[in-house]
Amino acid sequence: MSSMQNIQADLEQLIACPACDALYRAALPENGERAVCPRCHTVLIAPVDGAVIRVVAFAVAILILLVSAMFMPFLSIEAGGLSHSTSIADAALSFSEYHMLGLSIGVVALIIFVPIARAILVIFALFPLMLDKKPWRGARTAFRLSEELRPWSMAEIFVLGVGVALVKVAAMAHVELGMAFWLFVALVLVTVFQDGFLCRWSIWSALEQGDRQNG
């Protein structure tokens, strides 16, 4: 039977459910299968073949979509001979013209800066790993930061907000959807796919082993 020493000797093979603290011996499930905490049903391990390459590829795609959306026409309206068009940056900064600079900064952060920062952090953390090289210094901090920023990345909520705004405007004016709008819709789809491939536990152990093997 086991003792405390026995457990502490192989700490690395243990996994504690981050949601309920239940302790298990980590066993890698087959590709595509998931190890679920039997007590609170939190997904613990969900490896996907080639996950690192896909996650990096999606991060690059997110970066390209976001940056190009900045420079494309977003929305324009036209009613009774009057027209007005707006870019993503105009929309994000619109509060600043009405003495709400803080809110403007917040909106810019939530829909532009945080998604860009997350993409850059993920690329930085995983790029060497993708080429079977030793991770760069700070790779682990970068990946942890990117995970902590996850709930504050709100591009997909912004897209739904645009949809609601369009319904409100449709009654009074003709609306033209620009390229940037479609890039943002694509961005939402890419983000959803990326999250589906991201098994945190696999990436953490890959980062740990990458440091050890090549260090």
Binding site: S2, M4, I7, Q8, L11, E12, I15, A16, C17, P18, A19, C20, D21, A22, L23, Y24, R25, A26, A27, P29, A35, P38, R39, C40, H41, T42, L75, I77, A79, H84, T86, A91, S94, F95, Y98, M100, G102, L103, V107, L110, I111, R140, R144, E148, P151, M154, I157, L160, G161, V162, A165, K168, V169, A171, M172, V175, R200, W201, W204, E208
Partner: protein
Amino acid sequence: MDEHSAVSEHVVTAKEAGLVSCTHCARVWPIGTAACARCGARLVSRDEKSMSRVWAWWFVGLLCYIPANVFPMLQTTFLARTSGDTIVGGAIVLMMHGAIPVGLVILLASVVIPIAKFIAVAYLALSVQFRLPSDQLRRMKLYELVEFIGRWSMIDVFVVAVLTALVQLSVVVSIQPGSAAVAFALAVVFTMLAARSFDSRMIWDSLETPAEAEPDDSRKDFLS
């Protein structure tokens, strides 16, 4: 999959095994370790201060949510006449114009979800503080729902941002944000912080049996 056979048994937690778990990367370390050597996160076995943080964010969130509903969210200037719409007022106007599903989305995201979230976070915090024996799995699902859905309340702020930027047709019609926008955005951020401060591991602590539970190998091997 034999994972369900384990549910009725007593599960050994990292805390009971004399270990501290990292909530960021799931690695375990001997208790007393200050930071996770794998991902660098700060390690706390059970964050005793988390409840005061939850309540602090909860109260500021509620304080912001009241003006968010009283003051206008956006102001429409139509031929030099300005009228303000509160969150609820704006949704009702939308529904009267026939856009019933969109009005319902706004009501759901800006009224139903925030209020339900205040109640849910308070219930979770009280249930942990008073060690209520209510169903752990159900409370866990509630917590996951609160964490998942809370961010979506921000939608109304984005709607106002887009409308303000887009609807600027010189003197005919223009839309400006109202002061409720700031209060509402803050209320959403503070309730997100309240939910994130909550240490969900404490939901499960009421299951813990006292010391006689010696860690046993057979109980750790059911993760298949």
